[in-house]
Protein backbone atom coordinates (compact mmCIF):
# COMPACT_ATOMS: atom_id res chain seq x y z
CA UNK A 1 0.00 0.00 0.00
CA UNK A 2 2.79 2.39 0.95
CA UNK A 3 4.69 1.28 -2.14
CA UNK A 4 1.63 1.96 -4.26
CA UNK A 5 1.11 5.43 -2.80
CA UNK A 6 4.75 6.49 -2.97
CA UNK A 7 5.33 5.05 -6.43
CA UNK A 8 2.09 6.59 -7.72
CA UNK A 9 3.04 10.04 -6.48
CA UNK A 10 6.50 9.71 -7.99
CA UNK A 11 5.04 8.49 -11.28
CA UNK A 12 2.53 11.34 -11.37
CA UNK A 13 5.24 13.92 -10.81
CA UNK A 14 7.56 12.34 -13.36
CA UNK A 15 4.91 11.89 -16.04
CA UNK A 16 3.57 15.40 -15.51
CA UNK A 17 7.05 16.86 -15.77
CA UNK A 18 7.93 14.84 -18.83
CA UNK A 19 4.71 15.80 -20.58
CA UNK A 20 5.12 19.48 -19.78
CA UNK A 21 8.74 19.51 -20.89
CA UNK A 22 7.91 17.68 -24.08
CA UNK A 23 5.09 20.16 -24.72
CA UNK A 24 7.56 22.99 -24.33
CA UNK A 25 10.02 21.30 -26.66
CA UNK A 26 7.21 20.52 -29.10
CA UNK A 27 6.39 24.19 -29.55
CA UNK A 28 10.00 24.68 -30.49
CA UNK A 29 10.06 21.55 -32.68
CA UNK A 30 6.94 22.75 -34.46
CA UNK A 31 8.49 26.09 -35.29
CA UNK A 32 11.82 24.67 -36.33
CA UNK A 33 10.39 21.85 -38.45
CA UNK A 34 7.96 24.21 -40.12
CA UNK A 35 10.88 26.52 -40.83
CA UNK A 36 12.92 23.67 -42.32
CA UNK A 37 10.02 22.64 -44.50
CA UNK A 38 9.86 26.22 -45.75
CA UNK A 39 13.65 26.33 -46.28
CA UNK A 40 14.17 28.61 -43.31
CA UNK A 41 16.11 28.10 -40.08
CA UNK A 42 13.52 28.93 -37.45
CA UNK A 43 14.20 30.24 -33.95
CA UNK A 44 17.81 29.40 -33.13
CA UNK A 45 18.93 32.35 -31.06
CA UNK A 46 17.88 31.64 -27.49
CA UNK A 47 20.22 28.99 -26.17
CA UNK A 48 21.96 26.33 -28.29
CA UNK A 49 19.84 25.67 -31.40
CA UNK A 50 17.05 27.72 -29.82
CA UNK A 51 16.48 25.18 -27.05
CA UNK A 52 15.67 27.90 -24.52
CA UNK A 53 13.10 29.53 -26.80
CA UNK A 54 10.18 27.85 -24.95
CA UNK A 55 11.50 29.34 -21.69
CA UNK A 56 11.65 32.77 -23.29
CA UNK A 57 8.13 32.34 -24.67
CA UNK A 58 6.87 31.22 -21.28
CA UNK A 59 8.45 34.20 -19.57
CA UNK A 60 6.94 36.53 -22.14
CA UNK A 61 3.50 35.02 -21.63
CA UNK A 62 3.77 35.35 -17.87
CA UNK A 63 4.68 39.01 -18.09
CA UNK A 64 2.07 39.98 -20.69
CA UNK A 65 -1.08 41.79 -19.76
CA UNK A 66 -4.09 39.64 -18.98
CA UNK A 67 -7.08 40.95 -20.85
CA UNK A 68 -10.65 40.40 -19.74
CA UNK A 69 -13.33 41.55 -22.17
CA UNK A 70 -15.88 43.79 -20.48
CA UNK A 71 -18.84 41.73 -21.64
CA UNK A 72 -17.23 38.36 -20.98
CA UNK A 73 -18.64 35.83 -18.58
CA UNK A 74 -15.89 36.16 -15.98
CA UNK A 75 -16.14 32.80 -14.28
CA UNK A 76 -16.27 30.73 -17.45
CA UNK A 77 -13.70 32.93 -19.16
CA UNK A 78 -11.17 32.17 -16.45
CA UNK A 79 -12.24 28.56 -16.08
CA UNK A 80 -12.13 27.64 -19.77
CA UNK A 81 -8.32 27.46 -20.21
CA UNK A 82 -8.10 25.14 -17.22
CA UNK A 83 -10.93 23.01 -18.60
CA UNK A 84 -9.06 22.67 -21.88
CA UNK A 85 -5.81 21.93 -20.14
CA UNK A 86 -6.76 19.35 -17.51
CA UNK A 87 -8.33 16.60 -19.67
CA UNK A 88 -5.36 16.81 -22.00
CA UNK A 89 -3.09 15.82 -19.14
CA UNK A 90 -5.47 13.35 -17.52
CA UNK A 91 -5.65 10.97 -20.46
CA UNK A 92 -1.96 10.17 -20.34
CA UNK A 93 -2.44 8.63 -16.87
CA UNK A 94 -3.59 5.27 -18.19
CA UNK A 95 -0.99 4.88 -20.92
CA UNK A 96 1.67 2.28 -20.03
CA UNK A 97 5.05 3.65 -20.99
CA UNK A 98 7.53 0.95 -20.10
CA UNK A 99 8.25 -2.54 -18.81
CA UNK A 100 7.66 -2.99 -15.06
CA UNK A 101 10.40 -1.47 -12.94
CA UNK A 102 11.87 -3.65 -10.19
CA UNK A 103 12.63 -1.84 -6.97
CA UNK A 104 13.89 -3.19 -3.63
CA UNK A 105 10.33 -2.87 -2.32
CA UNK A 106 8.54 -4.63 -5.15
CA UNK A 107 7.83 -4.36 -8.86
CA UNK A 108 6.29 -1.11 -10.04
CA UNK A 109 4.27 -1.11 -13.26
CA UNK A 110 5.27 1.85 -15.41
CA UNK A 111 1.84 3.35 -15.82
CA UNK A 112 0.36 6.01 -13.59
CA UNK A 113 -2.97 4.23 -13.16
CA UNK A 114 -3.42 0.75 -14.61
CA UNK A 115 -7.19 1.08 -14.70
CA UNK A 116 -9.13 -2.07 -15.63
CA UNK A 117 -11.37 0.24 -17.67
CA UNK A 118 -8.46 2.18 -19.17
CA UNK A 119 -10.04 2.33 -22.55
CA UNK A 120 -13.38 3.68 -21.51
CA UNK A 121 -11.55 6.18 -19.35
CA UNK A 122 -9.74 7.51 -22.40
CA UNK A 123 -12.92 7.83 -24.40
CA UNK A 124 -14.61 9.59 -21.50
CA UNK A 125 -11.84 12.04 -20.70
CA UNK A 126 -10.84 12.89 -24.25
CA UNK A 127 -14.39 14.05 -25.00
CA UNK A 128 -14.18 16.45 -22.07
CA UNK A 129 -11.48 18.48 -23.79
CA UNK A 130 -14.08 20.15 -25.98
CA UNK A 131 -15.72 21.78 -22.98
CA UNK A 132 -12.80 24.11 -22.49
CA UNK A 133 -12.96 25.20 -26.11
CA UNK A 134 -16.72 25.63 -26.28
CA UNK A 135 -16.84 27.50 -22.98
CA UNK A 136 -13.96 29.71 -24.06
CA UNK A 137 -15.87 30.58 -27.22
CA UNK A 138 -19.07 31.19 -25.31
CA UNK A 139 -17.57 33.15 -22.41
CA UNK A 140 -15.62 35.49 -24.67
CA UNK A 141 -18.87 37.06 -25.90
CA UNK A 142 -17.37 37.49 -29.32
CA UNK A 143 -19.03 36.17 -32.43
CA UNK A 144 -15.83 34.75 -33.89
CA UNK A 145 -14.98 32.99 -30.65
CA UNK A 146 -18.46 31.57 -30.46
CA UNK A 147 -18.29 30.33 -34.03
CA UNK A 148 -14.95 28.73 -33.25
CA UNK A 149 -16.40 27.05 -30.18
CA UNK A 150 -19.40 25.80 -32.11
CA UNK A 151 -17.23 24.41 -34.83
CA UNK A 152 -15.06 22.71 -32.24
CA UNK A 153 -18.03 21.02 -30.61
CA UNK A 154 -19.54 19.88 -33.92
CA UNK A 155 -16.21 18.61 -35.13
CA UNK A 156 -15.34 16.83 -31.92
CA UNK A 157 -18.68 15.10 -31.69
CA UNK A 158 -18.48 13.97 -35.31
CA UNK A 159 -15.02 12.58 -35.04
CA UNK A 160 -15.36 11.21 -31.54
CA UNK A 161 -17.66 8.54 -32.99
CA UNK A 162 -15.25 7.50 -35.69
CA UNK A 163 -12.47 7.52 -33.11
CA UNK A 164 -14.48 5.30 -30.80
CA UNK A 165 -15.39 2.92 -33.61
CA UNK A 166 -11.79 2.53 -34.67
CA UNK A 167 -10.69 1.75 -31.12
CA UNK A 168 -13.45 -0.81 -30.71
CA UNK A 169 -11.59 -2.81 -33.33
CA UNK A 170 -8.61 -2.91 -30.97
CA UNK A 171 -10.86 -4.11 -28.19
CA UNK A 172 -12.26 -6.87 -30.38
CA UNK A 173 -8.80 -8.16 -31.02
CA UNK A 174 -7.48 -7.73 -27.49
CA UNK A 175 -10.62 -8.94 -25.76
CA UNK A 176 -9.77 -6.59 -22.92
CA UNK A 177 -10.11 -2.90 -22.12
CA UNK A 178 -7.01 -2.60 -19.93
CA UNK A 179 -4.30 -0.81 -21.85
CA UNK A 180 -1.48 -2.88 -20.35
CA UNK A 181 -3.29 -6.01 -21.58
CA UNK A 182 -3.66 -4.43 -25.04
CA UNK A 183 0.09 -3.85 -25.06
CA UNK A 184 0.81 -7.37 -23.81
CA UNK A 185 -1.29 -8.87 -26.62
CA UNK A 186 0.79 -7.09 -29.22
CA UNK A 187 4.13 -8.31 -28.01
CA UNK A 188 4.23 -11.76 -29.62
CA UNK A 189 5.90 -10.60 -32.81
CA UNK A 190 6.09 -7.49 -34.87
CA UNK A 191 3.12 -8.66 -36.96
CA UNK A 192 0.86 -8.79 -33.96
CA UNK A 193 1.29 -5.05 -33.55
CA UNK A 194 -2.26 -3.93 -34.13
CA UNK A 195 -1.28 -1.76 -37.05
CA UNK A 196 -0.99 -4.91 -39.18
CA UNK A 197 -4.25 -6.69 -38.40
CA UNK A 198 -6.06 -3.36 -37.92
CA UNK A 199 -4.37 -1.07 -40.42
CA UNK A 200 -7.56 0.67 -41.48
CA UNK A 201 -8.63 1.18 -37.90
CA UNK A 202 -5.29 2.87 -37.40
CA UNK A 203 -5.94 5.06 -40.43
CA UNK A 204 -9.35 6.09 -39.13
CA UNK A 205 -7.93 6.61 -35.66
CA UNK A 206 -5.19 8.86 -37.01
CA UNK A 207 -7.59 10.98 -39.04
CA UNK A 208 -10.01 11.25 -36.15
CA UNK A 209 -7.20 12.02 -33.71
CA UNK A 210 -6.05 14.88 -35.93
CA UNK A 211 -9.59 16.22 -35.84
CA UNK A 212 -9.84 15.69 -32.09
CA UNK A 213 -6.69 17.64 -31.41
CA UNK A 214 -7.77 20.46 -33.74
CA UNK A 215 -4.68 20.17 -35.86
CA UNK A 216 -4.45 21.00 -39.51
CA UNK A 217 -6.07 19.97 -41.81
CA UNK A 218 -8.86 20.01 -39.20
CA UNK A 219 -8.15 23.20 -37.28
CA UNK A 220 -11.44 24.86 -38.18
CA UNK A 221 -12.13 26.08 -34.63
CA UNK A 222 -9.27 28.51 -35.00
CA UNK A 223 -9.29 29.04 -38.78
CA UNK A 224 -7.49 32.37 -38.81
CA UNK A 225 -8.69 33.31 -42.28
CA UNK A 226 -12.33 33.28 -41.19
CA UNK A 227 -12.40 33.46 -37.41
CA UNK A 228 -9.33 35.55 -36.47
CA UNK A 229 -8.13 33.01 -33.92
CA UNK A 230 -11.40 31.23 -33.21
CA UNK A 231 -12.13 30.32 -29.64
CA UNK A 232 -9.03 31.96 -28.17
CA UNK A 233 -9.38 35.30 -29.94
CA UNK A 234 -10.03 37.13 -26.68
CA UNK A 235 -7.36 35.42 -24.63
CA UNK A 236 -3.93 36.78 -23.88
CA UNK A 237 -0.88 35.97 -21.81
CA UNK A 238 -0.87 32.78 -19.75
CA UNK A 239 -4.52 31.97 -20.43
CA UNK A 240 -3.78 31.90 -24.14
CA UNK A 241 -0.70 29.89 -23.37
CA UNK A 242 -2.85 27.33 -21.54
CA UNK A 243 -4.80 26.65 -24.73
CA UNK A 244 -1.56 26.25 -26.53
CA UNK A 245 -0.22 23.85 -23.91
CA UNK A 246 -3.53 21.96 -24.02
CA UNK A 247 -3.26 21.56 -27.80
CA UNK A 248 0.24 20.18 -27.56
CA UNK A 249 -0.53 18.02 -24.55
CA UNK A 250 -3.42 16.59 -26.57
CA UNK A 251 -1.00 15.85 -29.35
CA UNK A 252 1.32 14.03 -26.96
CA UNK A 253 -1.61 12.04 -25.60
CA UNK A 254 -2.95 11.16 -29.03
CA UNK A 255 0.52 10.10 -30.16
CA UNK A 256 0.97 7.99 -27.03
CA UNK A 257 -2.39 6.37 -27.74
CA UNK A 258 -1.44 5.63 -31.35
CA UNK A 259 1.75 4.01 -30.14
CA UNK A 260 -0.04 2.06 -27.41
CA UNK A 261 -3.06 0.90 -29.37
CA UNK A 262 -1.51 0.19 -32.72
CA UNK A 263 2.26 0.08 -32.48
CA UNK A 264 2.86 -2.26 -29.58
CA UNK A 265 3.17 0.33 -26.82
CA UNK A 266 6.59 0.03 -25.23
CA UNK A 267 7.37 -3.23 -27.04
CA UNK A 268 10.76 -3.37 -28.73
CA UNK A 269 10.25 -5.09 -32.09
CA UNK A 270 12.09 -8.26 -33.19
CA UNK A 271 13.00 -9.33 -29.68
CA UNK A 272 11.34 -10.87 -26.68
CA UNK A 273 14.10 -9.78 -24.33
CA UNK A 274 12.09 -6.74 -23.30
CA UNK A 275 8.73 -8.29 -22.49
CA UNK A 276 9.66 -11.33 -20.42
CA UNK A 277 10.64 -11.43 -16.74
CA UNK A 278 12.96 -11.09 -14.89
CA UNK A 279 12.47 -7.35 -15.03
CA UNK A 280 15.53 -5.20 -14.77
CA UNK A 281 16.10 -1.47 -14.68
CA UNK A 282 17.74 -1.69 -18.10
CA UNK A 283 14.67 -3.30 -19.59
CA UNK A 284 12.50 -0.56 -18.16
CA UNK A 285 14.82 2.09 -19.46
CA UNK A 286 15.08 0.57 -22.93
CA UNK A 287 11.33 0.19 -23.25
CA UNK A 288 10.71 3.75 -22.06
CA UNK A 289 13.15 4.98 -24.69
CA UNK A 290 11.43 2.82 -27.31
CA UNK A 291 8.05 4.21 -26.32
CA UNK A 292 9.36 7.78 -26.47
CA UNK A 293 10.75 7.12 -29.95
CA UNK A 294 7.39 5.86 -31.16
CA UNK A 295 5.59 8.82 -29.66
CA UNK A 296 8.18 11.13 -31.18
CA UNK A 297 7.54 9.68 -34.64
CA UNK A 298 3.83 10.39 -34.35
CA UNK A 299 4.49 13.88 -33.07
CA UNK A 300 6.65 14.46 -36.08
CA UNK A 301 3.84 13.14 -38.26
CA UNK A 302 1.51 15.69 -36.67
CA UNK A 303 3.85 18.56 -37.41
CA UNK A 304 4.71 17.27 -40.86
CA UNK A 305 1.06 16.96 -41.90
CA UNK A 306 0.26 20.38 -40.49
CA UNK A 307 2.83 22.07 -42.67
CA UNK A 308 1.81 20.13 -45.76
CA UNK A 309 -1.98 20.12 -45.98
CA UNK A 310 -4.36 23.05 -46.39
CA UNK A 311 -7.42 23.30 -44.19
CA UNK A 312 -10.69 21.55 -45.04
CA UNK A 313 -13.79 23.55 -45.69
CA UNK A 314 -16.45 23.06 -43.04
CA UNK A 315 -18.84 20.99 -45.18
CA UNK A 316 -15.95 18.86 -46.41
CA UNK A 317 -14.99 18.20 -42.82
CA UNK A 318 -18.50 17.13 -41.92
CA UNK A 319 -18.83 15.05 -45.09
CA UNK A 320 -15.59 13.25 -44.31
CA UNK A 321 -16.64 12.53 -40.77
CA UNK A 322 -20.23 11.48 -41.27
CA UNK A 323 -20.34 10.19 -44.83
CA UNK A 324 -17.00 8.47 -45.14
CA UNK A 325 -15.33 7.67 -41.84
CA UNK A 326 -18.34 6.74 -39.75
CA UNK A 327 -20.11 4.34 -42.19
CA UNK A 328 -16.80 2.88 -43.16
CA UNK A 329 -15.80 2.37 -39.53
CA UNK A 330 -19.08 0.61 -38.76
CA UNK A 331 -18.86 -1.62 -41.82
CA UNK A 332 -15.24 -2.35 -41.07
CA UNK A 333 -16.11 -3.26 -37.52
CA UNK A 334 -18.80 -5.69 -38.65
CA UNK A 335 -16.47 -7.32 -41.16
CA UNK A 336 -13.66 -7.50 -38.67
CA UNK A 337 -15.86 -9.02 -35.99
CA UNK A 338 -16.99 -11.68 -38.48
CA UNK A 339 -13.42 -12.38 -39.51
CA UNK A 340 -12.30 -12.72 -35.90
CA UNK A 341 -15.27 -14.96 -35.20
CA UNK A 342 -14.40 -17.20 -38.13
CA UNK A 343 -10.70 -17.37 -37.32
CA UNK A 344 -10.99 -17.64 -33.57
CA UNK A 345 -14.23 -19.47 -32.92
CA UNK A 346 -14.77 -21.53 -36.08
CA UNK A 347 -11.19 -22.38 -37.02
CA UNK A 348 -9.94 -22.27 -33.45
CA UNK A 349 -6.77 -20.28 -34.21
CA UNK A 350 -5.09 -18.60 -31.30
CA UNK A 351 -3.84 -15.07 -31.72
CA UNK A 352 -0.43 -15.13 -33.36
CA UNK A 353 1.34 -13.82 -36.45
CA UNK A 354 -0.70 -16.04 -38.79
CA UNK A 355 -3.94 -14.71 -37.34
CA UNK A 356 -2.65 -11.14 -37.66
CA UNK A 357 -1.48 -11.57 -41.24
CA UNK A 358 -4.83 -12.95 -42.37
CA UNK A 359 -6.52 -9.90 -40.91
CA UNK A 360 -3.84 -7.75 -42.50
CA UNK A 361 -4.77 -9.18 -45.91
CA UNK A 362 -8.41 -8.35 -45.18
CA UNK A 363 -7.37 -4.80 -44.41
CA UNK A 364 -5.46 -4.48 -47.63
CA UNK A 365 -8.51 -5.61 -49.60
CA UNK A 366 -10.73 -3.13 -47.79
CA UNK A 367 -8.16 -0.36 -48.18
CA UNK A 368 -8.63 -0.35 -51.94
CA UNK A 369 -12.26 0.87 -51.98
CA UNK A 370 -11.66 3.28 -49.07
CA UNK A 371 -8.63 4.91 -50.59
CA UNK A 372 -10.30 4.96 -54.00
CA UNK A 373 -13.27 6.85 -52.59
CA UNK A 374 -11.06 9.22 -50.62
CA UNK A 375 -8.73 9.80 -53.50
CA UNK A 376 -11.16 10.37 -56.31
CA UNK A 377 -12.14 13.80 -55.15
CA UNK A 378 -15.45 12.98 -53.51
CA UNK A 379 -13.96 14.67 -50.50
CA UNK A 380 -12.79 17.86 -52.12
CA UNK A 381 -15.09 18.00 -55.10
CA UNK A 382 -16.98 21.07 -53.97
CA UNK A 383 -20.17 21.34 -51.99
CA UNK A 384 -23.08 19.27 -53.19
CA UNK A 385 -25.77 21.64 -54.46
CA UNK A 386 -29.44 21.13 -53.80
CA UNK A 387 -31.34 19.96 -56.88
CA UNK A 388 -32.26 23.06 -58.82
CA UNK A 389 -30.84 25.31 -56.16
CA UNK A 390 -27.35 26.25 -55.06
CA UNK A 391 -25.16 28.95 -56.37
Amino acid sequence: MTLFLVSSVIKIVVVFTVVMVSVALLTLAERRICAWIQDRLGPNRVGPEGLLQPAADGLKNLLKEETLPAQADRLLFVLAPALAFIPALMTIAVVPFGAPLPTPWGTVPLVVADLPVGFLYILAISSLGVYGIVLAGWASNNKYSLLGGLRASAQMISYEIALGMSTVAVLLLAGNVTLSEVVARQQQSVFTWNVFPLGLAYFIFTVAAFAETNRLPFDLPEAEGELIAGYHTEYSAMKFSMFYIAEYANMVTASALMATLFFGGWDIPFTHWDDTPPWTVWKSLATVVMFSCKVGCFLFLYIWVRWTLPRFRYDQLMALGWQVLLPFAIGYLALLASAIWVLHDQLGWSYDSRFALVLCALNLVLAIPLFFVLDRGRLIGGAVPEPGGGA
Binding site: I33, R376, G377, L379, P385
Partner: protein, 168 residues
Protein backbone atom coordinates in the same frame (compact mmCIF):
# COMPACT_ATOMS: atom_id res chain seq x y z
CA UNK B 1 -26.58 24.70 -49.28
CA UNK B 2 -28.50 27.42 -47.55
CA UNK B 3 -25.98 30.02 -48.51
CA UNK B 4 -24.53 30.27 -51.97
CA UNK B 5 -21.51 28.06 -52.21
CA UNK B 6 -19.99 27.99 -55.63
CA UNK B 7 -19.78 24.42 -56.80
CA UNK B 8 -16.93 23.53 -59.05
CA UNK B 9 -17.70 20.32 -60.85
CA UNK B 10 -14.38 18.64 -61.20
CA UNK B 11 -14.17 15.57 -63.38
CA UNK B 12 -13.59 12.57 -61.18
CA UNK B 13 -10.65 11.41 -63.24
CA UNK B 14 -8.82 14.68 -62.72
CA UNK B 15 -9.14 14.90 -58.98
CA UNK B 16 -7.03 13.26 -56.36
CA UNK B 17 -6.74 13.76 -52.67
CA UNK B 18 -4.73 10.92 -51.22
CA UNK B 19 -2.15 10.69 -53.96
CA UNK B 20 -1.76 14.43 -53.99
CA UNK B 21 -1.42 14.41 -50.22
CA UNK B 22 1.28 11.78 -50.32
CA UNK B 23 3.13 13.68 -53.03
CA UNK B 24 2.86 16.84 -50.97
CA UNK B 25 4.16 15.12 -47.88
CA UNK B 26 7.07 13.71 -49.83
CA UNK B 27 7.82 17.18 -51.13
CA UNK B 28 7.74 18.83 -47.71
CA UNK B 29 9.89 16.03 -46.32
CA UNK B 30 12.52 16.65 -48.97
CA UNK B 31 12.50 20.32 -48.10
CA UNK B 32 13.52 19.45 -44.54
CA UNK B 33 16.98 18.67 -45.81
CA UNK B 34 17.36 21.39 -48.42
CA UNK B 35 19.92 24.11 -47.82
CA UNK B 36 18.28 26.97 -45.97
CA UNK B 37 17.95 30.42 -47.44
CA UNK B 38 17.99 32.27 -44.12
CA UNK B 39 20.75 34.82 -43.77
CA UNK B 40 21.74 35.08 -40.11
CA UNK B 41 21.58 38.84 -40.12
CA UNK B 42 23.80 40.45 -37.56
CA UNK B 43 26.58 37.97 -38.30
CA UNK B 44 26.01 37.65 -42.03
CA UNK B 45 25.14 40.70 -44.05
CA UNK B 46 25.56 39.33 -47.50
CA UNK B 47 25.72 35.89 -49.04
CA UNK B 48 26.92 34.39 -52.27
CA UNK B 49 23.62 35.02 -53.99
CA UNK B 50 22.60 38.25 -52.32
CA UNK B 51 24.37 41.48 -51.59
CA UNK B 52 22.92 44.90 -51.02
CA UNK B 53 22.49 46.75 -54.31
CA UNK B 54 25.04 49.35 -55.32
CA UNK B 55 22.07 51.57 -56.11
CA UNK B 56 20.65 51.31 -52.59
CA UNK B 57 19.67 54.78 -51.35
CA UNK B 58 20.20 55.01 -47.62
CA UNK B 59 21.19 57.74 -45.19
CA UNK B 60 23.29 60.56 -46.56
CA UNK B 61 26.96 61.22 -46.62
CA UNK B 62 28.77 64.45 -47.45
CA UNK B 63 32.06 63.96 -49.28
CA UNK B 64 35.04 66.08 -48.27
CA UNK B 65 38.03 67.52 -50.10
CA UNK B 66 41.74 66.94 -49.27
CA UNK B 67 41.66 69.43 -46.43
CA UNK B 68 38.72 67.64 -44.87
CA UNK B 69 36.23 70.39 -45.71
CA UNK B 70 32.83 69.58 -47.10
CA UNK B 71 32.75 69.78 -50.89
CA UNK B 72 29.44 71.63 -50.67
CA UNK B 73 29.41 75.12 -52.23
CA UNK B 74 25.99 76.02 -50.82
CA UNK B 75 24.51 76.49 -54.28
CA UNK B 76 21.04 75.64 -52.92
CA UNK B 77 20.11 73.11 -55.58
CA UNK B 78 19.49 70.21 -53.20
CA UNK B 79 16.99 72.00 -50.91
CA UNK B 80 15.37 73.25 -54.08
CA UNK B 81 14.92 69.81 -55.67
CA UNK B 82 14.14 67.97 -52.44
CA UNK B 83 10.51 66.80 -52.71
CA UNK B 84 10.29 66.13 -48.97
CA UNK B 85 11.78 69.49 -48.03
CA UNK B 86 14.12 67.86 -45.55
CA UNK B 87 17.36 69.74 -46.29
CA UNK B 88 18.06 72.91 -44.39
CA UNK B 89 20.85 75.02 -45.95
CA UNK B 90 22.11 78.43 -44.83
CA UNK B 91 24.88 79.62 -47.18
CA UNK B 92 27.90 81.59 -46.05
CA UNK B 93 30.84 83.22 -47.85
CA UNK B 94 34.49 83.42 -46.78
CA UNK B 95 37.09 86.21 -47.44
CA UNK B 96 38.04 84.82 -50.86
CA UNK B 97 34.39 84.85 -51.88
CA UNK B 98 33.98 81.04 -51.71
CA UNK B 99 30.53 79.98 -50.70
CA UNK B 100 30.20 77.32 -48.07
CA UNK B 101 27.30 76.02 -45.96
CA UNK B 102 26.93 77.68 -42.59
CA UNK B 103 24.22 75.24 -41.65
CA UNK B 104 23.57 72.06 -43.55
CA UNK B 105 21.08 69.70 -41.94
CA UNK B 106 19.15 66.74 -43.30
CA UNK B 107 16.16 65.43 -41.43
CA UNK B 108 16.41 61.71 -42.16
CA UNK B 109 12.88 61.12 -40.91
CA UNK B 110 11.43 63.50 -43.51
CA UNK B 111 13.71 62.23 -46.26
CA UNK B 112 12.10 59.87 -48.75
CA UNK B 113 15.46 58.68 -50.08
CA UNK B 114 14.71 59.60 -53.70
CA UNK B 115 18.34 60.49 -54.33
CA UNK B 116 17.53 63.72 -56.19
CA UNK B 117 19.99 65.66 -53.96
CA UNK B 118 22.84 63.48 -55.14
CA UNK B 119 21.66 63.68 -58.72
CA UNK B 120 21.40 67.45 -58.73
CA UNK B 121 24.61 68.24 -56.85
CA UNK B 122 27.11 69.94 -59.21
CA UNK B 123 30.05 69.32 -56.86
CA UNK B 124 29.26 65.66 -56.15
CA UNK B 125 29.22 66.58 -52.48
CA UNK B 126 25.98 65.19 -51.02
CA UNK B 127 25.31 61.50 -51.61
CA UNK B 128 22.82 58.95 -50.47
CA UNK B 129 24.63 56.00 -48.94
CA UNK B 130 24.59 52.22 -49.24
CA UNK B 131 23.73 51.86 -45.59
CA UNK B 132 20.79 50.68 -43.54
CA UNK B 133 21.72 50.38 -39.88
CA UNK B 134 20.50 53.69 -38.44
CA UNK B 135 19.21 53.04 -34.95
CA UNK B 136 19.51 55.81 -32.37
CA UNK B 137 18.31 56.32 -28.83
CA UNK B 138 16.53 59.62 -29.48
CA UNK B 139 14.50 61.08 -32.31
CA UNK B 140 16.50 64.30 -32.56
CA UNK B 141 19.58 62.27 -33.44
CA UNK B 142 18.03 61.73 -36.84
CA UNK B 143 18.63 65.30 -37.92
CA UNK B 144 22.13 64.92 -39.35
CA UNK B 145 24.23 68.08 -39.27
CA UNK B 146 27.15 68.86 -41.54
CA UNK B 147 29.74 67.45 -39.17
CA UNK B 148 27.87 64.18 -38.90
CA UNK B 149 27.28 63.97 -42.65
CA UNK B 150 31.00 64.44 -43.29
CA UNK B 151 31.91 61.84 -40.67
CA UNK B 152 29.94 59.05 -42.32
CA UNK B 153 32.18 56.47 -43.93
CA UNK B 154 29.80 54.07 -45.65
CA UNK B 155 29.93 53.63 -49.44
CA UNK B 156 27.83 55.99 -51.49
CA UNK B 157 25.08 55.04 -53.88
CA UNK B 158 25.67 54.63 -57.58
CA UNK B 159 22.96 56.49 -59.42
CA UNK B 160 21.03 54.93 -62.23
CA UNK B 161 22.48 55.78 -65.60
CA UNK B 162 19.88 55.87 -68.40
CA UNK B 163 22.52 55.06 -71.00
CA UNK B 164 23.54 51.98 -69.01
CA UNK B 165 20.28 50.85 -67.45
CA UNK B 166 21.59 47.55 -66.07
CA UNK B 167 24.73 49.02 -64.55
CA UNK B 168 27.17 47.04 -66.71
Amino acid sequence: MAIGVKTVKRPVTETSYLRATLRGMFLTFRHLFRPKVTMQYPEEKSSTDWTISARWRGTHRMLTDEQGRAKCVACGLCPQICPANCIKLVPGEDEQGNRYPLIYEIDEFRCIFCGYCQEVCPEEAIHVGVHYENSEYARDRFVYDLERLCAQTHPVSTLWDPSDPKGE
